[in-house]
């Protein structure tokens, strides 16, 4: 048993099962078996997933539809965002 996504404990077999259901992209596999949905958002596993798709469907890696990248870059707490917003508004307030 090979673990591909370490954040969500997704195995190679699960990814192959998703491909057998018709998935051909990294995003579809993420949605079906959660590979890449954890705290690192696929930084580790998306290349591995792409390799498995490429191998199973015999398509060159360059032809695999690229996944969507979304913010934030790293997990960030609500309190930090709130503090940042406060800092912004107080700085702008001083200028005015």
């Amino acid at each position: 048993m090979k673990i591909i996504c370490r954040c969500q404990d997704v195995t190679e077999d699960e990814i192959i099962a998703a491909i057998r259901q018709g998935a051909t992209t990294i995003d579809e596999i993420r949605r079906l078996v959660r590979a890449g949905m954890g705290s690192c958002q696929g930084r580790t596993c998306r290349r591995l997933v792409a390799q498995i798709i490429s191998r199973e469907l015999k398509t060159p890696p360059a032809e695999i539809y690229p996944p969507t990248f979304r913010p934030p870059n790293r997990p960030v707490a609500f309190e930090l965002i709130n503090a940042e917003l406060e800092r912004h508004s107080s700085e702008n307030g001083e200028k005015e």
């Binding site: 969500q8 259901q21 018709g22 998935a23 051909t24 992209t25 995003d27 579809e28 949605r31 079906l32 959660r34 949905m37 954890g38 705290s39 958002q41 969507t68 979304r70 913010p71 934030p72 997990p75 960030v76 707490a77 609500f78 309190e79 965002i81 709130n82 940042e84 917003l85």
Partner: protein, 381 residues
């Protein structure tokens, strides 16, 4: 390539695949679903995943109740795990006005046979711990509402439809439609033509454009709706919580992450689904106002999808006057996932057996051409 089918469905979201499945289950052969990208790549796969029966209009409540009834046995029927979970819906009333509106809603919903109650803030906090009860006056609680995984529900329907012989064409973008002697010719970007006597418009945020291809006005406007998810944490609560005043909904996924989103009245019409920093700030503020103790939760991802809005926030269903056999299932105004299980069944009955039903009649697109006597759905985040 030129292929003929008995029915062609445009859209591989929840409406498209569930309709394909219900048609096939009712005995129709030769059905084809055309999807511009992959399954649930549009609004379906970007939604909050809740299903609720607490609505302000009778049409929506009736449809939603039928949907939940359908969902109750669906995992078994499809042979697919969908994370269907009846954790309930708690809707918060912050103002006196809301309290009065909700009392009316509850009375209407109960008259239709729904198990729903008004609860006071203390009780609400028992259902959803960490809730800042200072902000609320009352809440409505329906334990039979809940949430479901939109990807798995769509895939479950699609797999079952394929077993019944339905063809699903992915990466097939419709670019034009022509109708000649009762046959639709659906042309796609990759140069194929699909012929059919029966055409469904389940194109979600793009259904207005599909209507235009046949000179039919489908007054649906897409608006971006942003949403985010936190890292997984231990079980905090079961229900979906919504507040129309604060303007948010939040639920915990089966895998532990808190999913939450909000409506933004300043959002312009359009199909743009990028992410914004504004949303991140606004969502953090709203969520921590309602749940001050949960401000250490960490966001791992934000994304966006489209609410396909109609003027009365209710869907457009059934035939159109201008073109025969052109069936609509769009304009769900952010609630397609939860209404699809019932709507797809009604549409299948309508086209195969010619059975009419009051919901399909009352939700015909015609009502939106004359906006004077429209009853607007109020319970929309």
């Amino acid at each position: 390539m030129n292929k003929a089918f008995d029915a062609v469905i445009i859209g591989g979201g929840i409406l498209g695949v569930s309709t394909a499945y219900e048609l096939a289950r009712a005995g129709m052969k030769n059905i084809c679903v055309l999807e511009r990208k992959y399954l649930a790549s549009g609004s379906t796969g970007r939604c909050g995943g809740g299903f609720r029966q607490q609505w302000s209009t009778e049409a929506n409540t009736t449809l939603a109740m039928a949907s939940v009834k359908r969902l109750e046995g669906l995992e078994e029927e499809l042979g697919y795990r969908t994370e269907f979970f009846q954790g309930g819906y708690l809707i918060l009333a912050h103002t006196e006005e809301e309290e009065q509106q909700f009392a009316k809603n509850v009375a209407m919903q109960r008259s239709l046979g729904l198990e729903v109650n008004m609860v006071d803030p203390a009780e609400a906090r028992k259902i959803v711990p960490f809730l800042n009860t200072e902000l609320i006056r009352k809440a409505t609680w329906c334990p039979k509402d809940g949430h479901i995984n939109p990807f798995l529900l769509t895939q479950g329907y699609a797999n079952a439809a394929k077993r019944l012989g339905v063809e699903i064409q992915l990466w097939t973008n419709v670019t034009g439609i022509m109708k000649k002697s009762n046959i639709f010719f659906v042309m796609t970007e990759n140069g194929n033509t699909y012929q059919t006597p029966l055409l469904f418009n389940c194109a979600g945020g793009f259904s207005k454009g599909i209507g235009q291809m046949l000179n039919v006005d489908i007054p649906v406007d897409p608006y971006r709706h942003e949403i985010l998810v936190t890292e997984p944490v231990e079980r905090l609560w079961d229900p979906m919580v919504i507040s129309f005043s604060v303007g948010l909904y939040a639920r915990q996924e089966m895998s532990g992450g808190m999913v939450m989103g909000m409506g933004d009245p300043n959002e312009p019409v359009g199909t743009y689904v990028g992410s914004s920093m504004h949303f991140m700030y606004e969502m953090s503020q709203r969520f921590t106002r309602l749940f001050p103790k949960l401000d250490k939760l960490r966001i791992v991802r934000q994304w966006a999808g489209l609410y396909e809005m109609t003027a009365d926030a209710q869907p457009i269903l059934g035939p159109v006057d201008e073109v025969d056999n052109f069936i609509q299932a769009s304009g769900f105004s952010g609630h397609g996932l939860m209404l699809a299980p019932a709507v797809s069944q009604l549409l299948a009955k309508y086209v195969i057996k010619g059975e009419k039903c009051p919901e399909i009649d009352s939700l015909n697109v015609k009502r939106l051409y004359n906006l004077k006597n429209v009853e607007k759905e109020k319970s929309v985040v």
